[in-house]
Assembly symmetry: C2
Homo-oligomer: 377 residues x 2
């Protein structure tokens, strides 16, 4: 067990001190002010009314950073809870749902749809390409009898970026609500909820936001709320039911005790984002730099199109394996990159240049190692 840092010995865990530099596509490195905020003493979030202001204020900050006045909710749980909550809250038995599938997470949405009685229609496309908008438009012209559609902004296992600025308005044109998983993209990619006409946007704490895993947040349009209100069947979950938050501020009543300490950290992380108006540009520059250097060194990428600002997915050069690359980085340089999973397992290595990872000095260290590896062969 070598992942516990030295300071934990102080608190009684007698373990070795090795902590990797995380360059994974989430969880990302966490800034010191976020970590310090998590160490603060907290009030009682159930009975201290000022916490209701703090929670709402933090939610409004997130909405503002997403360029909308639509309500944001922070839930106590990992990003995947947000995806399930969106589907659980919208889906009534028999509802038809379009599942845009050009990646592993894109495909995975069908399971949440089915779980809550919906009928998913898979719109499956090449996992190497960003979604073709004209093709989707042609498809929708013929097929648009869907209550909502799911789309993944950046499909992290393969690093595929989809152009939600064009996909969502196209869907809304046919009255199809949109559920967007932007967990690993938002703030590294530009997201404008109002302009893109997104109905439910799902985010997570541990990606670009660079807080620890454990929180998910959802931005919810009035159309999405109306759809939940118009349901004739109950939502078949409590913890994944978004309507349990209805009127929390007026009633001064949360459906469960809010993870206030985690939210202190999240707030610090969002204050960091607010203080950096050029955060998307930083990500864009770093991503371009990564691809330029790696291309020159002879690396090829999983994608032909749909390159994301937040993650780069490289194919394994001849003579190397995913494990050998990961092991070299970890054992010789104390840097953690990521493999992938599902059909991508062993076939690619992923560099997460999102949030606090997306710093030139950090990424250059990684690039130097990767370039050395191909020279060695």
């Amino acid at each position: 067990m070598n992942h516990i840092p030295l300071c934990l010995q102080y608190i009684g865990m007698n373990m070795e001190n090795t902590i990797y530099k995380l360059m994974t596509p989430g969880p990302t490195q966490v800034a010191q002010n976020v970590r310090m905020a998590r160490a603060l003493s907290c009030t009682n979030p159930d009975s201290d009314e000022t916490f209701f202001d703090f929670y709402r204020d933090t939610c409004e900050l997130i909405s503002t950073l997403l360029h909308t006045k639509n309500e944001t909710l922070i839930l106590s749980g990992e990003g995947i809870l947000g995806l399930e909550a969106a589907c659980a809250s919208l889906t009534e038995p028999g509802d038809k749902v379009l599942v845009i599938d050009n990646g592993l997470y894109g495909n995975g949405f069908k399971d949440f749809v089915s779980l809550y009685g919906g009928i998913p229609t898979l719109y499956t496309k090449d996992y190497h390409e960003t979604l073709d908008i004209d093709e989707l438009a042609a498809y929708l012209a013929e097929n648009h009898d869907f209550k909502y559609a799911t789309v993944v902004h950046c499909d992290t296992p393969s690093g595929m970026l989809n152009d939600i600025s064009r996909i969502c308005p196209l869907l809304k044109k046919y009255g199809i609500l949109t559920v967007v998983d932007s967990v690993s993209a938002m703030f590294g990619e530009y997201v404008n909820v109002d302009e893109f006409q997104i109905d439910i946007l799902c985010g997570g704490s541990q990606k670009v936001v660079s807080a620890p895993a454990g929180l998910t947040f959802l931005n919810i349009s009035s159309d999405a709320k109306a759809a939940m209100k118009a349901r004739t069947t109950p939502i078949a979950s409590f913890y994944a039911n978004l309507t349990i938050f209805d009127g929390y501020y007026e009633k001064k009543w949360f459906p469960y005790t809010m993870p206030i300490s985690d939210i202190y950290g999240l707030r610090a992380a969002f204050d960091n984002i607010k203080a950096e108006p050029d955060i998307v540009e930083r990500h864009a520059k770093i991503a371009a730099h990564v691809r330029e250097v790696l291309s020159k060194a002879g690396y090829t990428f999983y994608q032909n199109s749909g390159f994301s600002n937040t993650v780069t997915v490289i194919n394994i050069p001849e003579g190397l394996t995913a494990d050998s690359i990961l092991d070299t980085c970890r054992k010789q340089y104390n840097i953690m990159l990521a493999g992938s999973f599902g059909e991508f397992a062993g076939k690619v290595v992923r560099i997460g240049h999102m949030g606090e990872n997306a710093r030139l000095e950090l990424i250059d260290e990684v690039l130097e190692i990767l370039c050395k590896l191909t020279r060695k062969k």
Copy 2:
């Protein structure tokens, strides 16, 4: 907004500095070593295999402290997620479930049972009394066709303690599985999973354990696992499905990114508990002291029986109101006690003497104020 402590100003939140001494029945005060553990840099819990050891080791520590080798799982979510997960994972449509109801949370279990298609039978008894074991035995002799039963160890809104050491074996005698909500009792009350024959025991981070809210943990017997395995219908949830953790250690695969930083804090909190073998005695002594002092000062309690080591629930003396007591404590002494909710709202005040709150110097400060209040009248 006066609940943000001074140090948050450093990280950019320009708010006033008032932090209350929490004497609420959860969330409780959090020890410094737990807060510091939450501020540590973390590894990537998905790809660093050593985290799987740390997670399992922490789960095994919890099991040991509960006197069992039954597996413990830590989930990313608040205590109520644990209750829902237990019911979601056990309940198949049409299953008959006995819901022991002598408190608000006891009663609330019926909703989780119904949500997943079960048929709850309410065993409703006086909310002022701990469950009568002989009466239950007589009932069960005639009525025992239940797949499982739910019981709350300490029903926090009214502070009712039930004797799970006798209730659970009685149920098991009839082959009825037991789901026990001990969120606000365990470690303040003695819990021996094996001796008490508990099938699913639910705990939360923010009560006696004295870590911040945001984690729930469940201890699960082989009988409960067998019942989940024997299901002929799928579990109608992902996030509340306990079987998604099956084989996580062997597969080195968590169903979602674990909240590693929260778990660092939880581990520190459990190390504190491990280091204090007399923790239940500390709670018992403090509770007896609270009741003795308050009785002498003329206070009466909500319960006639079923007094808990972790919370004391006082009736409102004539001439005072719940709000006036809470306000005096908060505004004049910077101490936060709790009101209650549901049918108890406005009728009682609750003193949480659990976990880090259960220290003589802290509780004596509260008792002095409460005694002064009745003298003033």
